[in-house]
């Protein structure tokens, strides 16, 4: 079995500490040179075309950039204040507010670790102050942060859409209800634990605090509106304005403007932590200088660096995918699975198992690039809705992020909370159970994923 050799090589290289991208790429090259007629030049072509030939993936750098401007520009702290004002007075209030804030930030950002850091740094400290245990706080945020890829926009959904040619807009819509449900289930769990354990609750600060905190957070929250209206339009009022990819670029420009000229937590008008920022009227030339201000440059560079790391992995995963296709592996796997007489249910269980195992070692986007083309044709054959399959994959990736050994959310939470990773794993466990229940629910009730996109955009068309 040539394929076994290929995957053994990938895992072997990963385990000795070779970068993920190189493990995928080198294994593909060796496999290609040994077993096929295809030239090394095709590897270079795949590498270049991973970016230049994939219009959909172009959304990734733009969503990363928007998120970077949001984190640097002080949006997160305004969102946390608003969340506490809304739900802080329930039993377990601050923890529920933490989840709520993660959900809102998830609607601005395409990423999970970014959500944990943006919200976690503020909320975990606040929870400890009012008497929550560190473990409880870390467990909550570690889990809620994974909503970053389920609630749209989502980088993982962009990658799935690109790998399977389904519409990004449709995937984003499909994530709305599952995202709200998962968030709701986490909040409900906290509420029940709080009732039983008599956890602290905050003071009801009144409608005026909700109003005041909303006004503060308004410009950040507007980004959600801009993205959603821009992509889908408002029936009867405006048509859509841009494609999902363009939405990400517009979001970046908007986030830059909010951060530099409205919040002024960064850029030429910022006066540093704790000082009142300079009004634009006193420094009108900031409109120009903000473009090349060191904060702007730095944010662009950070987002660029992150794009590079992610795309390096995705590009090499695409090389591996190309080699698998070249050797007709997807057809062989499909034939094997179909002739084994797998039904829809067994197939979905298989997908879950493959992704849960793969998610322990691989970075989510790379994993999706490799697994989606393998299982997609079978899913279509068995009548599984491609959008439903996509949501299942995303939820699996969420779980992969909070399970060892490779789990970006775990690493990040252990840092934010200042506790060892294995302790975070234990702390996250009760809520991980919630996510598992949710995975089962999403897997066997397709309706949850498909209802909203089907209602608003009609049934999914399969043109392949």
């Amino acid at each position: 079995m040539d394929v076994v050799f290929l995957f053994t090589m990938v895992v072997g290289l990963l385990l000795i500490g070779v970068p993920i991208a190189v493990s995928l790429g080198l294994s593909s090259m060796i496999f290609l040179l040994m077993f096929s007629e295809t030239s090394l030049a095709s590897i270079a072509q795949s590498m270049y075309q991973a970016m230049a030939g994939h219009y959909t993936l172009l959304a990734i750098p733009f969503f990363i950039l928007a998120s970077s401007f949001m984190s640097t520009g002080g949006v997160a702290k305004r969102i946390v204040r608003f969340s506490i004002a809304c739900v802080g007075h329930f039993p377990g209030g601050l923890a529920i507010a933490g989840v709520f804030a993660c959900m809102i930030f998830a609607a601005l950002s395409g990423s999970s670790p970014a959500t944990v850091v943006a919200i976690g740094t503020i909320v975990i400290a606040a929870m400890r102050q009012v008497g929550y245990s560190k473990d409880f706080a870390a467990g909550v945020i570690c889990n809620a942060g994974t909503l970053g890829i389920l609630i749209p926009p989502s980088i993982v959904m962009v990658v799935y859409a690109s790998a399977t040619d389904v519409s990004v807009g449709r995937m984003f819509l499909a994530g709305v209800i599952p995202g709200l449900m998962a968030g709701g289930m986490l909040m409900l769990t906290i509420y029940l634990i709080a009732k039983i354990k008599n956890l602290p609750k905050g003071e009801w600060a009144g409608w005026s605090e909700i109003g005041a905190s909303f006004r503060e957070a308004f410009w950040g929250l507007m980004l959600i509106v801009i993205i959603m209206v821009g992509i889908y339009g408002i029936p009867g009022i405006t048509k859509a304005i841009f494609t999902p990819t363009e939405a990400a670029a517009v979001a970046s420009v908007y986030a830059f403007i909010v951060a530099s000229f409205i919040y002024r937590d960064m850029g030429p008008l910022s006066a540093g932590e704790g000082n009142a920022p300079t009004p634009l009227i006193n420094k009108p030339h900031a409109l120009l200088t903000a473009l090349w201000h060191k904060d702007t440059r730095h944010t662009l560079f950070d987002a660029g660096k992150l794009t590079i790391m992610l795309m390096f992995i995705i590009a090499n995963a695409l090389i591996l995918k190309h080699v698998l296709t070249d050797e007709q592996i997807p057809q062989q796997i499909a034939e094997a699975m179909l002739s084994a007489g797998f039904g829809k249910i067994m197939f979905l269980v298989m997908v879950n198992v493959i992704l849960l195992i793969g998610g322990q070692f691989m970075e989510p986007s790379g994993l999706i690039v490799i697994v989606a083309p393998l299982v997609f044709p079978i899913a279509i054959e068995l009548g599984v809705d491609p959008i439903h399959l996509g949501i299942i994959m995303v939820v699996n990736m969420e779980i992969g992020m909070i399970t060892p050994p490779v789990g970006l959310n775990l690493f990040v939470t252990s840092g934010v909370a200042g506790m060892p990773m294995m302790k975070v794993v234990r702390a996250a466990l009760p809520f991980l159970a919630v996510l598992f229940v949710f995975l089962i629910l999403v897997t066997y009730v397709p309706f949850i994923s498909t209802w909203l996109p089907t209602t608003l955009m009609g049934p999914e068309i399969i043109t392949n």
Binding site: E37, S42, P330
Partner: protein
């Protein structure tokens, strides 16, 4: 087509971008593979890679020149970078109907075009039909002025850009997979395509209607690498060419039927089709004809004359 090739057989990779069983190109490629795999069993084996799984139309010609794939059937506008003569197929109202297209492609001029890229390393084996293009938009298109000010998705081709500008419309390049969503949400207003693409991609669902303009052509050319082709044993090459010609003749003859069944399927699914009177159609011709002169030097006045001759006789 996914059947594994036997050891000792020469493997021929055929990469294309559509499905295998409903699109005219996909059907023809599948048929070609099936015939080679039975009739040349033990000698040659065709592996079809559909749905852009291996290469898209932009990458496949590079890969062919590199020797990584042996056959492909990109749309004719992809060859404009190799030789500008191919722009003749994108010029609006160049061909009256598919019979005229067929006659032109089978004429000496058409045959010469298949060999026009040999010095670049590509050899055309046969032309495969898809059909004539229709316009659709989110409002009724009756006269050319209806298209003015609208945003139309076009393939990235200078001729098609010029054609939309001649109508006062705004040409928008966009990946094919984005088009349905963009039409649905209104990011772009309209598009142009053949009946099989309009039905296959369900564009009619998200448009006010389709106007039967038959204003342009989407066809394909099966190409191979000159170096690979000439390196084959003569008998293998002849047999492949024969099978290819027979498949081409069979599928091209069926294109009228495929087109009208797709047109009917659009109607059956509730799509709106608007037919034009002779006068209304002439208005579109008048609006778009100036595009010809712009590209006459590229295409060759004699080639245009040859094409027009077939319009008269078909």
């Amino acid at each position: 087509a996914s059947a594994a090739c036997d050891a000792g057989e020469m493997v021929i990779k055929f990469s294309h971008v559509t499905n295998t069983d409903r699109h005219p190109k996909g059907i023809a490629a599948t048929l070609f593979a099936e015939r080679v795999n039975t009739e040349m069993n033990g000698k040659a084996c065709v592996e079809v890679y559909p749905n852009s799984t291996l290469y898209n139309d932009d990458q496949v010609l590079e890969a062919m020149l590199q020797g990584d794939v042996q056959m492909a059937a990109p749309s004719l506008s992809k060859f404009e970078t190799f030789t500008k003569q191919f722009r003749i197929f994108d010029l609006p109202f160049m061909f009256k109907n598919m019979d005229a297209v067929d006659a032109f492609q089978n004429s000496d001029t058409g045959q010469a075009m298949k060999e026009s890229m040999v010095r670049r390393g590509l050899l055309g084996l046969d032309f495969w039909h898809n059909g004539l293009k229709q316009f659709s938009a989110n409002k009724p298109l009756i006269s050319p002025s209806d298209a003015s000010g609208l945003k139309f998705r076009v393939q990235p081709s200078d001729v098609l850009v010029a054609q939309m500008e001649a109508l006062g419309a705004s040409p928008q390049p966009m990946a094919f997979s984005e088009v349905y969503g963009a039409l649905q949400t209104g990011v772009v207003d309209g598009q142009e395509n053949t009946w099989s693409n309009i039905y296959g991609q369900k564009f009619f669902e998200v448009q006010d209607g389709i106007t039967e303009t038959n204003h342009g052509l989407i066809d394909y050319m099966v190409v191979t690498s000159v170096d690979w082709w000439e390196g084959l044993d003569a008998d293998v090459r002849d047999q492949l060419a024969t099978i290819m010609h027979e498949v081409t003749a069979e599928r091209n003859a069926a294109i009228g039927e495929v087109d009208s069944s797709n047109r009917q399927a659009v109607l059956d699914a509730g799509g709106v089709i608007r037919e034009l009177t002779a006068e209304q159609r002439q208005a579109w011709v008048d609006a778009m004809l100036p595009v010809w002169s712009k590209f006459e030097a590229d295409v060759g006045a004699d080639n245009i004359a040859a094409a027009q001759a077939f319009n008269a006789s078909n």
